[in-house]
Chain length 409, copies 2
């Protein structure tokens, strides 16, 4: 099969998997939910056609093994997740799994100097238990045992869900790969953002997964009558918040690669004729380099303090979440770049602003990601899509990458 | 009785009336609610002690008549409302009624060259039917007949409420005063704002009741992932709203007497990791002069259009409410100013940012208001209060005012 045909098959397979859903009429497929069995059956069939052996680990990750030259050969891993958000599109996750299989099909039976495993991670989105990356954490040997006691909305623990799927929680430790056997990891994923589309490039090489700080920020002033309180006697929490939000945007624009977002805001008491006495906001800050992000957060807090002081407001803030940045492996990035160039595409390196399994896998082995352009930047939405030419480009680059990896082994 | 004793009695009477409530443990007394009967009984008793005749009109306004020299003598009116907001304080409204009675008591039986009527308006706050000024509108002959069909939360119409209170809706037209008999109207009211306290003055002469524009303003951009969308590719509706809110505040600060308030804000979809695609806000603008207010609203819309255009956002706005400004009567204001000065207080003229019965009464007759300082600017709150010295000052100024009015008659 040629790369174009492999790409069309990969797209058709994503669309087929999108029919396996918990909800009628839309795609929702959470960790170890019933439709996950149908996904496993389909993937197993496709893996067996390629001469792979197939297993499911104790956390529900489905893994196909494409043998190397001998049983002790190093392993190269490819994959992504097969769980989805609610009302999802077909490509976020599954595309990385079926593209792994497409590359192996493109080898037409040829063996590489290493074994290849394609992983369909059981959980990445954090929908069922509120905690993401359960699948890749088990593979990387990072799954915290206390996570097994988390309960879903129906009161069922992770441990119970594992048993209900016919798996054995006691075998979770065996899901972890031996560090010295794994050569590396490659994940194909849609960008979920507008950068590649804006540049007109089909593919992007992920240099790093951005670190993230999430804070809650509140200004407190004095509620008052909108008619009877002159401007100079106000302590308007929303006017202070507005001034600060303009500074958040300005600082983020001035620092290359930084993103800062206020996504949630509420003003109290919340009436058209009452000056807001309190405003609560979220602040989300991300950057490739942790020092840049930490400095930006500190600057934004200083700005908030200055705004509060000048306006006679009280400031309260709390850090809710901190996630360090994860660089991708420079050697694998370079290999991807050479393959992109060799196939005649423009090389573009970018930072992933969203978390991915590759971030967890980076603690196990050299880790890399290739992004495919997201039309309109859409994801987590039924209209999420890919361009067939971009998927073909990913197949060409992936095959070139495996070739170069084989040469360098 | 001296002014100090009259002031203490007025305060005690407000506190007594505050016990007549629909709700246990807090003061809530809406239009024609059961506790209104107890208010009427108490007021009737105090009026009869002064030799007044007492009637209740068809809209539930209680009116005491203090005779003039002959039955055809002109009428001078004083009063305020006796309904309250939910969880109210004791002074917003009732103070104006009991101060009217205090002034008549201060006359110690003496007749003036005009009759005086003290009105306890049945409805000003708009709580029960969502529409304010029902009482004073009937007195001014302005009550729109369609208001009688409004329904309260229990499904009872205004007309039914009137009948249930033992009154006859067909007699509403007779509640309207004959225009040529009414000499003027004076209302004492707490300021409900911080201006007099900030200046250190007990009293303020209301020059005008500000006009008001209320709008809904929305910016629409593009929701997006807070991690994967670089700053330069965003169309963040909240960042646009923040920029505009800083301009709203700046423009209002630069125009003397103008107030502009964003009291309500909501950002959609409303998640910490999603760039807001839409923001909806309220805008409340008030000023003494309608032209200044209209120009300010137009300017703020132009600013919003500029912000939207520069950021690739859509702007939508709608005017929800327009209330023209109402000037108080210059002659009565001057008479009040002379009385304030004669009693040794500093004359301060100010604009009421809130609506009052005096605004409706201005269409019937020369209308005037005297504000009493509001400690901490508080009103519509159980901690609403007055300084006894300020009430005494109001009694002294009120007596002086009636004296001067009698001299000029």
């Amino acid at each position: 099969m040629n790369p174009q045909a492999l790409a069309h098959e990969a797209i058709a397979r994503c669309q087929q998997l999108a029919r396996y859903s918990e909800e009628a009429g839309r795609l929702t497929r959470t960790f170890l939910s019933p439709p996950m069995r149908a996904v496993h059956e389909a993937l197993t069939g496709w893996m067996l056609e390629l001469g792979m052996s197939v297993r499911t680990d104790a956390l529900g990750n489905l893994i196909g093994h494409y043998p190397g030259p001998h049983p002790e050969a190093p392993l190269f891993l490819m994959g992504s997740h097969v769980d989805t958000v609610r009302d999802a599109g077909p490509y976020d996750g599954p595309l990385g799994v079926v593209l792994g299989l497409a590359l192996l099909k493109g080898l037409e039976g040829r063996r590489l100097p290493f074994a290849v495993e394609v992983l369909a991670f059981s959980e990445e989105e954090g929908v069922r238990y509120g905690v993401p990356f359960l699948g890749s954490k088990a593979v990387a040997g990072l799954l915290e045992p206390e996570l097994l006691s988390l309960r879903d909305a129906g009161g069922r623990t992770v441990e119970e869900a594992i048993r209900a799927f016919g798996l054995e929680p006691a075998q979770i430790p065996q899901a972890a790969y031996a560090r010295n056997r794994v050569k590396g990891y490659l994940e194909f994923h849609i960008e979920q953002g507008p950068v590649l589309e804006a540049l007109g490039y089909p593919l992007g090489i992920v240099e790093a997964i951005a670190g993230q700080s999430r804070l809650e920020v509140a200004f407190r002033g004095q509620a008052g009558h909108a008619g009877t309180t002159p401007m100079h006697l106000r302590r308007d929490a929303l006017a202070g918040a507005a001034e600060w939000m303009t500074l958040v945007e300005r600082e983020a624009r001035e620092e290359p690669g930084l993103v800062a977002t206020v996504g949630l805001i509420s003003a109290l008491p919340g009436a058209a004729n009452v000056i807001p006495g309190e405003v609560q906001m979220s602040l989300d800050v991300r950057h490739q380099y942790d020092e840049v992000r930490s400095l930006a957060v500190a600057n934004l807090i200083t700005r908030a303090q200055q705004v509060a002081q000048r306006r006679g407001l009280e400031l309260a803030y709390q850090t809710r979440y901190e996630q360090p940045a994860v660089p991708c492996h420079p050697g694998l990035c370079d290999l991807l770049a050479q393959s992109v160039e060799a196939q005649g595409y423009r090389v573009h390196r970018l930072v992933s602003g969203a978390g991915h399994d590759a971030m967890i896998m980076a603690s196990l082995c050299p880790s890399s990601m290739l992004f495919l352009r997201s039309p309109k930047g859409l994801s987590h939405h039924p209209d999420e899509s890919v361009w067939p030419e971009d998927v073909e480009a990913a197949v060409r680059v992936g095959l070139g990458f495996l070739e170069k990896l084989a040469e360098s082994s």
